[in-house]
Amino acid sequence: MNYVTVNPCKTCQPLGAIIAFRGIEGATTIVHGSQGCSTYMRLHLTHHFAEPIDVASSALNEKDTVYGGAANLKLALKNVLARYKPALVGVTTTCLTETMGDDVNRIVNEFKAEEQVNDVIIIPVSTPSYTGAMVDGFNLAVEAALNVLAEEGEKKNCLAVIPAANITPAEIREIKRIIEDFIPFIFFPDYADTLDAPFFEELPLIFPGGTKIEAIKRVGSCRNGIILGVCGGKNLAQLLTEKFGVAACRLPLPVGLKATDIFFQTLAEITGKTIPAHYQWERRLLLDALIDAHVITYGKRVAIFGDDADLVLALAGLAVELGMVVAICAVGPSNEQFVRQGAPAESILNPVDFDELAQAVRKTRLDLLMGNSKGKFMAKEKNIPLLRFGFPIHDRLGAGRQQIFSYRGAIQMVDLIANTILENEDLFVSFS
């Protein structure tokens, strides 16, 4: 349809910004707008990560929209500082406050002066959602934080790694495991432990974990940088290179054999080290898994969709390695880079909503769907399985624990995809 979005395949920018701020140690977030936006985002994040998620709101009401939201935002800041004692507060705007034209920078500076706040860092980020989507909000928040915190400095043997896509806490851990073997690094924003938190003896108000503020400052002294994402994160690569003089490159998400090869090669080039033997070994294990699966997956038709172009591209790459036919590659929010990259698919849909996607799905033969939970309606209608990846996953457990990166993650994926096909077709011939 031309004027109606039916069953949207995207959410809004502040949501991504909230996730980014979770990746800073001791940080919390205020959504500057009416109460509903923040409550909905909390609900969405809670469903997905199965964690309690506190996000404050400046709780604007009708008269504030006439006189401006300054008083409410200041009160919100005051209460959040009193209650959570954060080291840093991210302030994201909403459609409402953007349209009202609130100057959040000015309000924050006034607040700091009035209340004599010197020891808490407050980072505003402009995230109107009538443009962009979740991943854009994430990237904008990362950019804002780097702008405020990072300092240009003498370059050291250090690698800054910044995700610019929808990656899970478990995937952050995997990336860190690998890079540790190559070079000292700063991973930012690191929400591994704050969005996949353990059971605590005593529940902390702000979950421990996140990139240390000290470390974010040093991003500007890293000789090299890697941005994970080729569709998103252009702003981050530019910032690193131009403002801080960090030699930054953008890489596809390390999903599947080839993309993971690129990741390792880049690390080897940057550090001048050879790839450690155990990764070579993991690579061979993946090759072995691919061989085991190839007959099962060959020629099988899959539709891949989501709101994050980089994830969709990455999944498509792996599907191709499995000999599958990517019938549809669909990304909700409009993304020029994605279209330009050209996915290896019969048909590419962008921008798209689930209504249009469902129509395309109806018209073609498919064996498998890969994407977020909202694909369940199509799966039901077509009576084919849906493997859940991306955001949101609100009808299954373990979204934050999913790990598809590197050779290791790919091995799990290969088995999962092959077994799902077997399960559905009920054609498994015993090898024993």
Partner: protein
């Protein structure tokens, strides 16, 4: 209490001691920065209207507001599935600058042409209120041109909280649907169920009892409802109001205009079901119907007695905490816990009113803490200090509860378990048992065992 509470929040929390007069402060706007569990006006309007199964629900605003409300509620439909789609005008920057009415107009025409729906609800979001789109005018124009009923819902989020949204929804129903068609005036025993949303199929669990009593259900507001049932709702002889927070306002308006009386009922819990059926029969003053109601209650009580005793044995002496959106459910829950031999130590609501809290106060035992518009930090401290054995709440509270090692039962609009009717109570008891008596809590509290394998 050692709780450290923000100054402006202090009087929202109160502990019952004997015959006291004080109530917690309530009916206030949420404090900025306090992480309220509340949502917005728009979300309140969706609660009331969204279960209408064959209508189109179009959200006029940026896409996020629509995205977050797509298929998140557990209201079931026997037939039409239109309500499970999310429709949005997905306003872009240029619409914000030049106004969104043109896009809305075209969107409505497109929807009417493709779906031919019996009605379209158009929800206003904050941004639409701010840029001043005249919803009413556009809806009126499309109604005139296409003949399809287009209903504006004035639910700009910033007008207040959920309660305002309930009101906006009630106004929409009252002004645009109720009274727009004639109904059957010959049958004397017709009731409407109001504030029953068929969550997890609740409605289907209570419908048979009314049938058995010879009572016909005219319209349900709005569980499993169809637009046309609602049009002739004023032909009913009685409105039974369950979720008082959401629809009392509508019942009052219908009483004024159509002299249609209403009664408060509750379909959750033994006492609730008993009262609901007897209230209905007594209202109609029909001996036979009253006898039948009594017979149903006798039989059903006998039927569920065994299972209830089974669960009571497993739950007796445990403590419970309740945090609900509205007060009606909270009240029924206190009663249900009493029946199971459990004591309620904490009860709170997102947006209860003064007389709600007075009722809760009356029903609660001495020492129970009562809280209005709690935030997660307060809830966490309360649950720990009061040593709650189980928490009943919504999704936002679930993982907080889990992290505190406190068992949890979901009793919200997005739940998937049926709680209404006699069987609903047993089902509820089963779920409380499932979470309280799971082995996981012993594991959580246990210490690391070094010699486990020796």
């Amino acid at each position: 209490m050692t709780l450290e509470v923000l100054k402006d929040r202090r009087n929202h929390i109160i502990k019952k001691r004997g015959e006291m007069e004080d109530l917690p402060a309530c009916e206030k706007e949420s404090l900025a920065g306090a992480v309220s569990q509340r949502a917005c006006v728009y979300s309140g309007a969706r609660v009331v209207l969204n279960p209408i199964t064959d209508a189109i629900h179009l959200v006029h605003g940026p896409v996020g507001c629509a995205s977050y409300t797509w298929d998140i509620r557990g209201s079931k439909s026997g037939e039409a599935q239109t309500y499970r789609h999310s429709f949005s005008t997905d306003l872009q920057e240029e619409d914000i600058i030049f106004g969104g009415t043109e896009k809305l107009y075209r969107a409505l025409n497109e929807l009417v042409a493709r779906y031919r729906p019996p009605a379209v609800f158009v929800y206003a979001t904050c941004i639409v209120g701010l840029i001043g789109d005249d919803l009413k005018a556009v809806c009126g124009r499309v109604t005139e041109e296409t003949g399809c009923t287009i209903i504006p819902v004035q639910s700009e989020g910033f007008k207040g909280n959920k309660t305002e949204g309930y009101k906006a929804a009630c106004d929409a129903l009252f002004d645009y649907l109720i009274g727009t068609a004639t109904g059957d005036n010959n049958y004397p025993y017709v009731v409407n169920l109001m504030g029953e949303y068929n969550v997890a199929g609740d409605f289907w669990a209570i419908e048979p009892y009314f049938k058995e009593m010879g009572v016909r259900i005219g319209a349900t507001f709005t569980g499993n409802a169809k637009v046309n049932d609602l049009r002739s709702a004023h032909y009913a002889k009685l409105n039974l109001v369950q979720c008082t927070g959401t629809v009392t306002y509508l019942a009052q308006k219908m009483e004024q205009k159509y002299s249609l009386p209403w009664r408060k009922v509750n379909f959750f819990g033994l006492e609730g079901m008993e009262e609901a059926l007897l209230t209905t029969a007594t209202f109609f003053g029909n001996r036979l119907m009253l006898d039948r109601a009594k017979e149903i209650i006798r039989q059903e009580k006998k039927r569920i007695f065994g299972p209830l005793i089974f669960y009571k044995k497993r739950l007796q002496g445990k403590t419970a905490a309740i945090y609900m959106g509205g007060a009606a459910k909270a009240l029924a829950l206190i009663k249900a816990f009493k029946l199971l031999g459990m004591e309620t130590v904490l009860v709170g609501t997102q947006s209860g009113k003064r007389d709600d809290y007075a009722q809760l106060m009356a029903e609660a035992d001495d020492g129970t803490v009562i809280i209005d518009d709690a935030n997660p930090a307060e809830l966490a401290e309360m649950l720990t200090t009061l040593k709650a054995g189980v928490l009943v709440g919504g999704v936002k509270e679930r993982y907080l509860s889990y992290k505190l090692a406190i068992p949890f039962v979901d009793f919200n609009h997005d739940r998937t378990s049926l709680f209404a009717g006699f069987d609903g109570l047993v089902n509820f008891a089963r779920l409380v048992d499932t979470t309280i008596n799971s082995p996981v809590w012993a594991l959580v509290r246990g210490k690391f065992e070094r010699n486990a394998f020796i």
